[in-house]
Symmetry: C2
Subunit: 219 residues, 2 copies
Amino acid sequence: MMHLILADSELELVPQAIQGHPAIVKHAKMRKKKPSRILLDSTYHHQAIRSKYAAEAERRGRPDIVHFFLMNAQESLLNYEGKLRVYVHTRNNDVIRISPETRLPKSYNRFVGLMEHVFQNKYVPDKENPLLTLEKMSLRALVDEIGNKAVVLSEKGKKVNLKEYDIPEDITFIIGGFPSGDFLSNVNFADEIVSIYDGTLMAWVAAYEVIARYENLYL
Amino acid sequence: MMHLILADSELELVPQAIQGHPAIVKHAKMRKKKPSRILLDSTYHHQAIRSKYAAEAERRGRPDIVHFFLMNAQESLLNYEGKLRVYVHTRNNDVIRISPETRLPKSYNRFVGLMEHVFQNKYVPDKENPLLTLEKMSLRALVDEIGNKAVVLSEKGKKVNLKEYDIPEDITFIIGGFPSGDFLSNVNFADEIVSIYDGTLMAWVAAYEVIARYENLYL
């Protein structure tokens, strides 16, 4: 089984410090929700983010990255064949587990609504048969729980050619869920940190690169 | 070089017959555009589509599929290495060419705005140095112009294992850009019609499957 974690992803509800910002208030009103219950989204909240989090303004509020990642991972041939488990870990150490049979909304707005629901209720659709669950957990605790060899993909890692890279059948890959910068979590606990390309790859592309390589070996 | 065509994709401006439908008028007003200048989008226009195009209501108005496809193709390692050319062909025989260096908006709403701009102006950002161009052209004319061996991916095609399938270095792959049903274009002119999986794959997943296989052979 391959486990795939999107780590330190920029998925969060609007932080308290900017819930009163005019851009947030306006957007929340349009969406008929409280500011505390909507996802932070740089497309709409960039000014608000900059007002309090200037140093992180180019990375925060990116549900779109999570959406693209999940559209690739959940709909992958590997997942259809039952050999993939997918997790979204966030900057605030929320871990969302997505059960393999879950088909997520393709509409971005519906996806955002679903994630807001997950943050609020922790279990979707319900606690008895959840397709998505959310709990507080560090990246390291999640990786330890899975128990596989853990490999982080990072531009700063050791250069490897995926074609020649040894991947055991039980493996956990960790991919950064942020548009730029570095992991917020300490990832030095991992068994290896590797770079699969001389340059930055989008998180969802890196995901399908390792998925396709694993399929080539084990399907 | 690999050429990749999303064919018969469900990308179109709102057709004249439903421009007066209340749901369309309301949505266009909210977007501050004329109904004739907004993309058909099943997320917002499903009722309107059903009112006139009942038989096609489950397939029309899917810019999201084009968006996911382009996020994978344009951001692929293969494209970064300069060995991929990407085209979006639509149900109305519009062909959009995307130059390899084009980075498209990750925000769905911005992507929709960009596509509307392409339909209106044909060249984006301008005719002298276009990143995107639109012209009227059939799928077959596009494939003939490229001149490579052309392979259609289709559930109805001959079953092949991509791992063992012979892919020449100059190749054109054609993938359906619709959620269900069959190609509207006649695709029998293609050199081969193949099925790479026992089941339906999302267009963007099928795209990365062939991209990854090509990378494995030629990068």
